[in-house]
Subunit: 338 residues, 2 copies
């Protein structure tokens, strides 16, 4: 498996990106890794990590897309950026998947326009695995598409289901439609239309559709894939992050109150670490852009080496799963004519 | 102040409802309370709580709206239900505010059609005070209106701001528009239109509009009023509930692991209780229906005596604040002509 990595994207580039990539290469010798970025800087970073191991190469790209660039056009304006060069390599078959911790908007535009969507797919969607009770839930879409049609939502349901089954190994993933109540009449007209079509798909055996699901139940592990428009999906994702952060700081305050509570903190140190770990986005790695012809993984902008290493494994799993083949094979089911 | 209470609504009616009402009457002798429901049952419940104190009376209503009734028509079909009778008393000026722990949908329909909206207000909105870092945030709308226009959102902003200032005593409440990014171009067309109008209202000094706010920042206390369509507002509210419940059970598991962790739990017992208390909806009481001519408060379906007592205080505060007068006085600002 050959993974292409944007070595210049993210807050900790290039050093942490390179370190994560090299760790992945060392841990899984079967992986071939291409680091894309300013060659001298990438090489210097690699030297700091003990040099380039076998199977890792560098492709030079002189520009870097940053937060000041217009996401919609950055990849065109900066043709020699690490993101553009990397995605072009992916498109040309010089790799099987691409990982970047750079600008989400730029990656979404560039991924869609360079790598292109699978024929028939209306919109690429972002689908993080969100930590919940149980194994976590694939949330699709979490913000790429603020405005959706019922057809988009139906496609998101299939994209999320294929990803959960093929790349994450979930068996017969339970697909729920994010809604403000469980009854079939709930929500707005968009939800009612999507509900109807997904119910039919479920009855025909194409999907394991379990109906509407409220955000509360989804967070408690009530389904494996939650289908949402990018607006409410983003609200759900960011609310989980905010609540975890708010509760975490309340807890911290609680443990700092007195010598007794500090002793308590010591006694549950291991448990607290495991607790934090469970909510740590670095463990998962990144968010796939579903619906493209080849896997593109967006790593957190704040990714450290560990997050990048995990994103590389995730990219390899996505490439192995051949999602685009799976999508193409089922394209007829995803055309609603609505 | 005269508060009318639906004694038959909610999972713990009538006993806990009556108990909460009587506790409020005893704690605040200035309050007059009317309990509406099946007289014999309400009287028996009152006897179990030590009898009716001064200032508390019972009005008989022979029917009860339950979960099997159609929310849209229940109040008409069951004309002698505690909810319908209570709201008619409110409308007739026999009380200053109404509290019910009964069906949300039925209360929304009945409140809108019997008590009626303030002239010019397009939709009543539900506006709970959501626990966040800081004082909490008024979330308007949290689910009454799944489909919204920009005009609704603009009105929600004023309704929430008046409520926060007049009934909750927040000074110059910071109003944020729930969105998927802070920049003014973010979100869907609904958000962009509302953003534009709210920015103008802010510049004119009518509102303290602080711009778009992401769910994460809202939960971390970044504003005092968060304006949302009822769909994404509900997703935010339910996600907070789900995340708090999920993290709470993870914590519980952590403290139960060994004798050491159980000792730790003992050492932070007070802190944990305060922590739970902070997230306890019973502390706040209920959710006001904003935009009606008189205050109507929806208490949680699972309300115990304490939640009802707090809802009564909240109803009294809302009545004292004369929100409908405030709204009517500013109605011209809320007409967008859009």
């Amino acid at each position: 498996m050959r993974i292409i990595i944007d070595a210049m994207g993210g807050d900790n580039a290039p050093l942490e990106i390179v370190r994560g990539a090299l760790n992945a290469a060392k841990a899984r010798p079967g992986l071939e890794i291409t680091l894309v970025g300013r060659e001298a800087e990438v090489r210097r970073a690699a030297d700091q990590c003990g040099g380039l191991p076998q199977g890792v190469s560098i492709v030079n790209a002189t520009e870097v897309i940053d937060m000041h660039d217009d996401p919609a056009t950055a990849f065109k304006v900066k043709k020699d950026s690490s993101m553009t060069v990397g995605l072009n390599l992916l498109k040309a078959g010089e790799g099987d998947a691409f990982v970047s911790a750079g600008s989400t908007g730029a990656l979404l535009s560039a991924g869609t326009l360079l790598v292109k969507r699978v024929r028939g797919i209306r919109r690429a969607a972002m689908a993080p695995l969100v930590p919940t009770a149980g194994k976590g839930v694939v949330l699709v879409d979490c913000g790429a598409n603020a405005e959706c049609t019922a057809e988009y939502l139906i496609q998101f349901a299939y994209l999320g289901s294929f990803y959960a089954a093929k790349a994450l190994g979930m068996e017969r993933p339970r697909v729920g439609l994010l809604n403000i109540g469980a009854e079939d009449s709930k929500g707005d007209s968009l939800r009612r239309e999507a509900y109807q079509a997904l119910t039919e798909a479920g009855e025909a055996g194409h999907l394991h559709f379990i109906g509407n699901i409220e955000a509360k139940e989804a967070v408690k592990g009530g389904c494996d894939v939650v289908v949402a428009d990018g607006f409410s999906g983003n609200v759900m994702l960011k609310t989980i992050e905010g609540t975890a952060s708010f509760l975490g700081s309340e807890l911290k305050g609680m443990f700092k109150k007195s010598p007794f509570t500090m002793l308590a903190a010591l006694l549950v140190k291991g448990g607290l670490a495991a607790f934090k770990e469970r909510l740590n986005p670095d463990t998962i790695g990144g968010t796939p852009l579903l619906g493209l012809q080849k896997p593109v993984i967006k790593a957190h902008g704040s990714s450290g080496a560990r997050a990048i290493e995990n994103a590389v494994y995730q990219a390899a799993a996505a490439a192995k799963a051949d999602l685009s083949g799976e999508i193409a094979a089922h394209m007829e089911l995803m055309k609603t004519g609505r």
